[in-house]
């Protein structure tokens, strides 16, 4: 047994080191900010690899995703237009930032300020604002969506939900 113990010790140390190294090599840090987007174009979001900067959730579905590009090219990602509005509100570059949103009707990235919004979409954070490229009756513009979001007049308010969805 005395001769066996050093061998066992080496095996255990090697096993611990191997597990740690293998786990470290698999490391895939979540992206929360992408720098250097000087052209201010919408960046592709790989599902489950990017964090929403406001609610911290992993973006697994990009149907309602948004991006904010600051004047210096820094880009932040969001899973819900409501998150983008909340996060942007106290930023010094909020009026100069380029805002991209995924349009639900066309599936394209469009300028969030020119998009039209429904108020009753099933969005990840349940605010309900879904972007559309083409205007239809009942849709609201960006400024109205922003005000409603900041006032809390969205589907997270039971009164608004009752009025819009009936439950």
């Amino acid at each position: 047994m005395k001769k066996l113990m050093p061998v066992l010790t080496i095996i255990l140390i090697a096993a611990v080191a191997a597990i740690i190294f293998i786990s470290l090599s698999k490391k895939e840090d979540m992206i929360t900010i992408q720098k250097g987007n000087i052209q201010k174009l919408p960046l592709p979001i790989e599902p489950s690899h990017v964090n929403d900067t406001e609610c911290k959730m992993v973006i697994t579905d990009t149907t309602h995703a948004c991006e904010v590009v600051a004047p210096n090219g820094n880009t932040w990602f969001f899973d819900d237009p409501g998150c983008m509005i909340k996060w942007l509100e106290d930023k010094p570059f909020k009026d100069k930032a380029v805002l991209w949103v995924k349009a639900f009707d066309s599936g394209k990235w469009i300028d969030a300020r020119k998009a039209w919004y429904t108020q009753s979409d099933k969005t990840p954070m349940h605010y309900g604002f879904g972007a559309r490229e083409v205007k239809k009756e009942g849709y609201i513009d960006f400024n109205e969506m922003r005000l409603k979001m900041l006032r809390g007049e969205n589907l997270t308010d039971p009164r608004v939900r009752k009025k819009l969805l009936g439950y």
């Binding site: 010790t9 140390i13 786990s23 979540m30 911290k56």
Partner: protein
């Protein structure tokens, strides 16, 4: 400043102040002894110093022993404060109430380890005929005193900066999942557990072989992995809730104060594991009994943690 109306905080700070005053007296005495000590001299001065040394060692022994008892009381105090601070559900929120909390807790644990080493050196010194570690234990006390001073300043800074009106985060917000894998080395829970048990086996093997340096390294890693395993796995079985990840809630009455036993056995096991290497470094001497104590406390710790998981499975038939 409302926080000073809390009985626990008052008792804690009063005790810390008394102990710090005693440690200052011991510090001054230790400096004097180190300056003028000469074992070979037969002067009145040396005779006076020898009598004084006995008093100073007694004061240090008393102070440091009570400091050990004050750590669980500190944990108890911050846990009780969670009733006063909005948002806090347990000690996790209270300790994060300002920037001083976490460094203070970390420092207290480090000091506890130093105190343990000092107590062992003192015991070995007093058991020997010729007091071989007399000077080294006083030098080591001066080293500890620096940490005690920083700790006392942090104690005051921490408690005086706790606001009873500002909302703090609860443990679910602090330790909850927020996107990135919160487990170190990007480990999955399964891998974390495999490493946890492998490290435990390693500490047992190294104790059996009396390998002080390796045991020192492995014990420190075991402390870190043990902490993470409790937060991310074993704790959920103590709380019987897969989303409840907190190292502090288990100190509460609802969980039969089991946290004191869990953290106590982990710290004791790790302390005895690292002590022999430090003793070798400081006094070129090790104590074989410490290997047995490492095995004992690490085994109690691992059995205690594992029992919660097994009992939960037997009762409910599922894993969390």
């Amino acid at each position: 400043m409302d926080i000073f109306l809390s009985n626990q905080v008052l008792v804690f700070l009063f005790s810390e102040t008394i102990l710090y005053l005693l440690s200052i007296i011991a510090f001054l005495g230790a400096v004097q002894i180190l300056k003028s000590w000469d074992f070979n001299a037969t002067t009145t001065r040396q005779y006076t110093l020898e009598k004084r040394a006995f008093l100073i060692v007694t004061i240090i022994l008393f102070t440091l022993t009570l400091k050990i008892l004050l750590l669980p009381y500190f944990a108890y105090t911050i846990d009780k404060l969670s009733l006063l601070i909005p948002g806090a559900m347990c000690g996790a929120g209270v300790i994060s109430a300002n920037a001083y909390g976490n460094p203070l807790l970390f420092l207290k644990i480090i000091i506890l380890f130093f105190i343990g080493i000092w107590l062992i050196i003192n015991r070995q010194d007093q058991n020997a005929i010729d007091y071989p570690y007399f000077k080294i234990k006083f030098w080591f006390y001066l080293f500890i005193f620096v940490f005690l001073s920083v700790e006392y300043i942090l104690d005051i800074a921490y408690f005086s900066h706790i606001s009873t009106s500002d909302v703090v985060q609860c443990c679910s917000a602090i330790f909850g999942i927020s996107g990135n894998n919160p487990i170190p080395f990007n480990l999955t829970v399964e891998m974390l557990l495999i490493i946890f048990y492998l490290l435990y086996l390693l500490t047992i093997l190294l104790c059996a072989q009396k390998r002080a340096l390796l045991l020192f390294v492995v014990s420190l890693l075991f402390l870190y992995i043990g902490y993470e395993s409790i937060v991310h796995f074993f704790g959920t079985y103590i709380y019987q809730l897969p989303t409840h990840k907190c190292p502090f809630c288990m100190l509460q009455k609802e969980y039969y104060y089991v946290g004191y036993l869990i953290w106590g056995t982990l710290f004791l096991g790790v302390f005895f594991g690292i002590a022999n290497f430090v003793l070798k470094f400081l006094i070129s001497h090790e104590d074989p009994r410490l290997y047995r104590l490492t095995m004992l406390f690490n085994t109690i710790f691992v059995i205690l943690c594992s029992t919660y998981v097994v009992v939960y499975y037997i009762k409910n038939g599922v894993w969390l």
